[in-house]
Amino acid sequence: MGNKSDKIGAVAVIGGGITGIQSSLDLAEMGFKVYLIEKTPAIGGIMAKLDKTFPTNDCSMCILSPKLVDCGRHENIEIITNSEVQAIEGEPGDLIVKVLKKPRYVDLELCTSCGDCTEACPISLPTEFDHGLSERKAIYKYYPQAIPNAFIIDKEGDGEHKGCVDCGKCVKVCKAGAINHDEKPENLKLNVGAVIIATGAQPFDPIIKPEFGYKKYDNVLTSLEFERILSPSGPFKGKIVRPSDQKKPKKIAWVQCVGSRDKSIGNEYCSAMCCMYTAKEAIIAKEHDSNIHPTIFYIDVRSFGKDFDKYIHQAKKEHKIRYVRSRLSEIFEDKKTKNLIVRYEDESGDLKEEIFDMVVLSIGLCTTNARKTFLDKMDLKRNEFDFVEVNPQSPVTVSRPGVFIAGSFIEPKDIPESVMQASAAASKVAELLRHSRGTLVKERKFPAEKNVSEQKPRTGVFVCDCGINIGGYIDVPNVVKFAQSLDNVVFAEEYIYTCSQDTQKKIAETIKKYNLNRLVVAACTPRTHEPVFKRILKEAGLNPHLFEMVNIREQCSWVHMTDKTKATEKAKTLIAMSVAKARLLNPLSDMEVDVTQKALVIGGGVSGMTAALSIADQGYKVFIVEKESSLGGKLRYISYSLEHPDIKKYLADTKEKVLNHKLITTFTDSKLKIIEGFVGNFKTIIETPKGEKEINHGVTIVTVGTQEYVPKSYHYGKDSRVITQRELEKKLGLAKPEEIQNGETYVMIQCVESRDNDRPFCSRTCCIQALKNAIKLKDINPRAEVFIIYRDMMTYGFKERFYKEAREKGIMFLQYDENRKPEVLIDNNMIVKFYEPLMQELLEIPTDYLILSTGLKPSLDNEKIAKMLKVPLNSDGFFLEAHVKLRPVDFSTEGIFVAGTCHSPKFISESISQAFAAASRAGVLLSKDKYKIEANVSLILEDLCRGCGTCVELCPYNAIELKEIDNLGHKMTVATVNSALCKGCGTCSAACLNGAISHLGFTDGQVLAMIDVYSNKGG
């Protein structure tokens, strides 16, 4: 490793979808300068287009937009949109990324996003974001919540439609002077230490499959188009209508596996998420309109992920979604009604036809020629599917050092897996550039804060015209005059744009000149602009919390455009309310706690070891606690693997690295006794064979793994011919496999005692384990007959290739019906008896061996550890992360992370990815010696508290405890808030019957003052 100055402390992240966003945020928080390079005019990627996300049906934009805003305002992130990477040159640690930046023709600094230009523009084109289902102008915003929140001019058009005609109308109406039609493309050269590629994959274009009638028939849509239709901000405002006649459809068909698992177009892999989003779209469609009857045409339902099976179950049982296992042959249109006739082959091979009002094609993800060329140009190896080739033992590492990858660019995958890999890639970068952390970021220095607590409130009110966006619909001079008349207001004035650079300067001057100690800005929404104004306060030496923002644009002028008098009245009241609140504002201090820059990893399996190594390679000390006598966890029982060439060697190497790492201390045969504390400051007592040991650490990572499930049925344990997959694997893995190889027939039953009422989840790994063992059997004993009896083959993503390999090797796949489990008859012979729905026949297979795929179950330790750490488990007993989609390795308790199979069953590579991800999230905290605490926390007023404990119960973050204090000789119990854990939701203060809790920034006094102003006098 080099010296401090060797490597560049900056990173280029290519691709501004959720993956690139997460990598950027992690790295920027760790102290690296980030260039986030995006091809389109705004970040957000596919996720920004989605209506809801499975399996929680969260609103996609609600969970994404805080991340977009974080990226947009982060001091260490520079977003470069409309740009493409041309080349990456140089050595790891010191690379040059060449970027072609196309002109936007709108100045990001000056554009206030008012939209006047769009109004004036005479040119209309189809909207890319809505996939042509709506129109936009030649000057437009990519989507309403876009970051950067600015307009762009389309000069090129889209082939059929011409773009900007240089009429200059937009220039005339833009009061901010933000438009420059002469902007030229720029060639940027970014000097960085590492690159992360996260450009995603391309949604499949079904035009290549003419039998589906896409683009030929109006009412055949892709699933992504359907997401836009579902979206309340989409082309039809969330109403489900047919594009052909805007009528409400009743029967909608979804066709799965469009562009996936399809040899004819060379996509012989599964896209891994279509089964789930299809179920979601069908459920949501029905929720929107109960008259809709969804039908899903499918091959397999691959509900392999955490809580997926329950979701599909709900779709079928609660929402009565009709699932038809079938192969689709063709779609026709009834010319008159524009209805669609779907022709398909059903399970038994019969050809059928059915009429639908609308058909949605569940498209997969694929690569493109452009991507292939990109890979070649970047000197990255391609795999058999023309995606990028990765190292399965470090799934974000590619053939070129210094370049890392994440997300669907590697393999089709859903959001949480992409987010995990995003963090994983960030942790690899942090390892590589660890000596350069913090070298290229600037921390802004602000003048010391003036103490204004003794002063009377002197409030300044700044009212924005926002060009004509506010000024056109509200009588601003009148509002200003009113503001001047309010108590404690010593200054009020009107500005064309309060957020423009020169007004910002004026505000700073005004603060000084009038000695203001409270600031009220009446303009647009605080959600985007509050940070801008808070910074002005800081620069002027005022506490940033002495600020109130009044939203008179989004929530006044724009929604009351036809009644100027009433809009003006409303604006006045809103300002009076905020002035009343401002009067009662107190300076709040952003508190900090020290961070012990060490990590504790609980569990020394593959996830634990990987996380520990990555954190240690980032430069921090790590402790591993392992209850068994050696490291390795379940990996010790894996003899061979389809994906990992030499798994035994991998385990041995990893163990050795851990044991020899200077920064890692391993305690084997050890258990946790007590763990207490909070983010940055945990204190743990470990019971080791040599006695108790106390350690201090700043973060905790839970990687305790899972257990094999031991079956009760099928004579297991009673007949030696009945074994589990793991037992078979062990036997086959021996240098000289035992007699087991000499059988003639082997039957494997999938999903044994799993995916049912008692264990309602899929263990994800058993299908591949069965394939792996079946292939091995065939390799050793080619004459053996191997049957796999399954419900759904969960060979998602590129794992489909093993399914194919198994079929080619002559392994036989038969289905069984989940409601009619196979039976096993044993006397001297063993016979497996079951109903095969494809053949519609009752089959009997005599067999020498019966192998049971039983899956995993949560470790017995989970409950104990969950209780100790006060983190939740899901209903199956696996650890429950903070957010299924966007925080897949965090717990909602700050400073505690999860990885590996204790989170949910997964493969080795996936555990490794998740462990790297946890290492990255931990690295974010460990990179700082102080942890900043929210200022808007709750505060207990001990004099009023009666120690009833209501707040303790209600706090979602376990941030409140009861403690005993001494009050003038009387012992009393009061509540106390740990600010490091409090997230400032205010639930406690709302529930406290004694008014003993003050929610800082939203105190009862402040809120009541606002209420009184309006209820009493306000108009």
């Binding site: 049906n57 605080p526 639930t987 203060s989 939203f1002 309006y1014």
Partner: protein, 144 residues
């Protein structure tokens, strides 16, 4: 005093959670969806932080209606603040009757960040409903 129903413009105090409903109201703005100007929004961090005292104070001081907007069930930024808000509002409404106030004056609704239209529609509907109910009867007592 004779109240002319035509001219009666209800005063509605709105509490919107920072994460979903406030964003939904913003989207109504960016999409220029028009709704009646009768609501004055107070931003709160979470619908769960709306103290019943706030609602009572607004009604006693003369507001004609109170609107609480939170994230959809399961979407609350703070896990389950919206459930707590719902529970509290049910309790509160049950006592409104006893003091001579219609419980229809307090609305609690879930509005997500992408439901600008729904926000506007809800406010429109609420304004109309409150117009039908007429002015807050209690505020008159307190004006004596």
């Amino acid at each position: 005093m004779v109240i002319n129903m035509e001219e009666f413009e209800p005063k509605i105090v709105g509490f919107l959670c920072n994460w979903c409903s406030y964003a939904g109201a913003d989207l109504a703005g960016t999409s220029r969806i028009q709704y009646p100007p009768n609501i004055r929004v107070i931003k709160v961090m979470c619908s769960g932080s709306v103290d019943s005292v706030y609602i009572m104070r607004a009604l006693l001081e003369g507001a004609d209606g109170v609107f609480i907007g939170g994230c959809h069930p399961g979407d609350c930024h703070y896990l389950d603040g919206n459930y707590k808000a719902r529970r509290k509002s049910v309790l509160l409404k049950s006592i409104l009757d006893t003091i001579g106030l219609e419980k229809e004056r307090v609305w609690i609704r879930w509005v997500s960040a992408s439901e600008g239209q729904k926000f506007a529609d809800t406010i429109k509907e609420m304004t109309e409903e409150i117009k039908k109910l007429g002015p807050n009867p209690i505020s008159k007592h307190w004006n004596i």
